[in-house]
Each structure stands twice: as C-alpha cells, then as structure tokens.
C-alpha cells in the first residue's frame, strides 16, 4: 500500500494529465453537441501539451536561456542547470496549430449550423435521414 502511494506521489503529474486527457476523450465520445465535442478536443490537446512540458522539467534547473555576459568569452555550460528546450519547442508550435485547427473546426460547425439550424448530433442525423 505504501509502495503504491509513493509511486503515485512521485508521478502525480502524469496521473493528472491522464485524468485530464480522459475527460477530453469522454467529451469527444459521449457529448451530443458539436461545440462540446470541440471543447473536449481542446482539453485533450491541453493535456498532451502539459504532458510534454512536464517531460522537459528538471529539478533545480532554470529556463533554457543561456546566462552570458557580452564579450566575456566562452565558459562551460552545465546542462543540468537548464531545462530541456525540446518539448517547449514542439509545444510552442503545437499550441498555435491547435488554435488554428480549432478555428477551422468552428468554421465547419458554423456551416453545419447554417445548413441544419442545430448543432446536436442526433438532430443532424435525423435531418440527414429525412432527405
């Protein structure tokens, strides 16, 4: 039992992201409204972004901007002093791309609303069957 608790405490960040990701996944599967599905997709993306950023962290390290003095010459850089820049780079682009894809998704939802006057999935399916 204590082992299990110490395991959770050491990795509680991953647990939180998985819970968040599952909330998003559930919203995408079970919700009927298309906008709610999109919000679920955004929650899912946020969980992945948080997961990546947490992979990059190191205990006692600072942001990956090299401390330097102009003209002081080269000095050794301790890698353990700076957090991993790579996940930050990947997520930086991912955030903006997720905003743009969300914009496209909203545009599609708007078109669906103009056509069927509803955003509820079952009502849209009903209208489609009527035709």
């Amino acid at each position: 039992m204590t082992e299990a608790i110490s395991l959770i405490v050491a990795k509680y960040n991953y647990w939180l992201y998985i819970v968040l990701m599952m909330i998003g996944l559930y919203a995408m599967i079970a919700k009927n409204n298309l906008i709610k599905k999109l919000v679920g997709m955004n929650i899912f993306q946020t969980a992945i972004i948080l997961f990546y950023v947490s992979i990059g962290s190191k205990k006692g390290a600072t942001i990956p901007i090299i401390e330097h003095v102009q003209g002081a010459g080269e000095h050794a850089i301790k890698v353990a002093d700076y957090i991993n820049p790579l996940p930050h780079v990947l997520m930086l682009t991912a955030i903006v791309v997720s905003v743009s894809t969300f914009g496209v998704a909203l545009a599609l939802a708007l078109k669906i609303y103009q056509e069927y006057k509803t955003l509820e999935e079952d009502e849209i399916l009903m209208r489609l069957r009527e035709k």
Partner: protein, 275 residues
C-alpha cells in the same frame, strides 16, 4: 453510447495509468528525454548560433523545417476558414444607423435607402446598440501598447522568452480587441481584408524565401550561415539574423491568420457585423 464511451475511457485511462510506472519521476535530470539530443542544443546553441534563448534557436534553426511547415499549416487553416465561410455577395438586410449628433437610431428595412458615407450617420450593429465610451477609450489607449509589446516580444525573442509565434498572437489580439471594443467595420477599415490575405501569404513567403536564399548562396536549405556572404557579419551571427528573419515571417503569418479566423467566424463570413 454514454455507457460505452465511459467504459472505453475507463479502460484506456487505466492502461495509461498502468504505463506511468515505467516513466521517469518528475523533474529527473537523467530522464531519456533530457539525455540524448537536448544537451547538444544547450551546449552548442551559444557557440554556433549566438542565440542565448535555446528554444528560439532550436525552433528556427536546428528544427527549421518543422517550423516552416507548421507555419504552412497555419496559413492553410486561415485559408480554409476564408474559403468555408466568406460570402462576397451582398444581400439586402435590415440595417441600423445612428444619427451622431442627436443619438436617434434608424432601422432601415430591406431595400430602403442607405445614408451616404459621411460623419452625420454611423452604422451600428443589430445586436448591440449602446454607445460605450469607457470601453472604446480604453481600447484606443491600450492597442498601441499591445502592438508595441508584440514587436518587443518578436525582436527580443533571441534574448528572452518570446519569438514569432507569441508576438504574432499578441499582435493579432490587438486587432481583435479593436473589433470587439468598436465594431468589425472599424477594425476592417484599419486592417483591410486584402492586406490580411496578402500578409498571411507573405509570412510563409519570407520564411521559405530566407531558406531559398541560403540555397542560392550555395548552402543547404535553411542553412543560415551562408547569409554571411551578403550580411556584414560572421557566420555565427548570420545564423542569429537568419533566425530573426524567419521569426518575422512567422510573426506576420500568425498575426494575419488569427485576424482572418476571428473575422470570418465572428461575422459568419459577411464581414459587416458580429460580436
């Protein structure tokens, strides 16, 4: 469907939670992600590119292709919003005008006569009629500072957290603040749709053009050290200037696409009123 979804979510969540026991602890400096390629970036960034912010140097130099195609994705997203929603044809709809000096509002139905463009009448949104002085004054006061800050975030992206994506989003937000505080037509008068479309393409063009310029100068695509042949700097500093150039391209593309997406969605493609 609900129960089925819940079962799927529980199963995959349990599987992922089970998998976390193989993960390295949080903040472990010896985790696999931090030991293979990232030490190389941290150690050599200053020496090779003269950029202290490693995120910027990795983004625009070491992983330049990734960022170029991300910019292309953003451009494509903006264009698809435009193509999906934009309605160019003008329909005769009900419009509302306010007589500026007296504050009397007019409701013009269908094909009624529309007042000429002058200072006497101003068009107002159908859903939003009150005249809010505080919001408009504050927006007018804040927007220049927001834009200045956006340019600072872009230009100082080498030395501090920042860069093209962040600056571009802030710059786009300043136009959206204009559109929210005043109305869509005022914002579009300051920032025309054609300019917006051209800028979003120009951003991608600047990025790819900088890469192609390196190709013309005899190096590889996006190999900025070749820019030293046309800039009065050495090869290391040329990479810093190459990064600044492509970040400017990203800035312009992101700004234009944010505004394009917002305007098209808020007005359902009519570009006359909304939100």
């Amino acid at each position: 469907m609900r129960l089925f979804g819940f079962i799927i979510v529980c199963l995959s969540g349990a599987l992922l939670l089970y998998a976390t026991q193989d993960f390295p602890p949080w903040g472990d400096p010896g985790s696999p992600a931090s030991t293979h390629v990232s030490p190389r970036y941290l150690e050599k960034s200053m020496e090779e590119t003269d950029v202290p912010n490693v995120v910027t140097s990795v983004l625009a130099d070491y992983r330049g292709f990734d960022t170029m195609f991300e910019t292309t994705v953003i451009f494509a997203a903006g264009m698809s919003c435009f193509i999906l929603l934009r309605i160019v044809r003008k329909e005769d709809e009900d419009r509302y005008y306010r007589h500026v000096s007296t504050g009397v509002t007019f409701h013009i139905k269908g094909k009624g006569r529309i007042p000429e463009r002058s200072g006497e009448f101003e068009r107002i949104d159908t859903m939003w009629t009150p005249y809010d002085l505080i919001i408009k004054t504050m927006a007018r006061f804040l927007v220049p500072f927001i834009q200045l800050f956006a340019l600072y975030v872009l230009a100082h992206g080498h030395e501090s957290p920042g860069g093209g994506f962040q600056g571009g989003v802030i710059m786009g937000a300043s136009f959206i603040v204009m559109a929210i505080a005043f109305d869509l037509r005022t914002a579009l008068n300051g920032f025309r749709e054609k300019v917006d479309g051209l800028l979003s393409a120009l951003g991608v063009f600047i990025y790819a053009g900088t890469g192609a310029l390196c190709l013309v100068l005899g190096g590889n695509f996006i190999d900025y050290k070749e820019l030293a042949k046309i800039l009065p700097v050495d090869q290391v500093e040329a990479r810093a200037y190459g990064i600044l150039s492509v970040e400017t391209g990203v800035f312009i593309a992101v700004m234009a696409v944010m505004v394009c997406i917002y305007i098209n969605i808020a007005s359902e493609g009519k570009h006359d009123e909304g939100l």
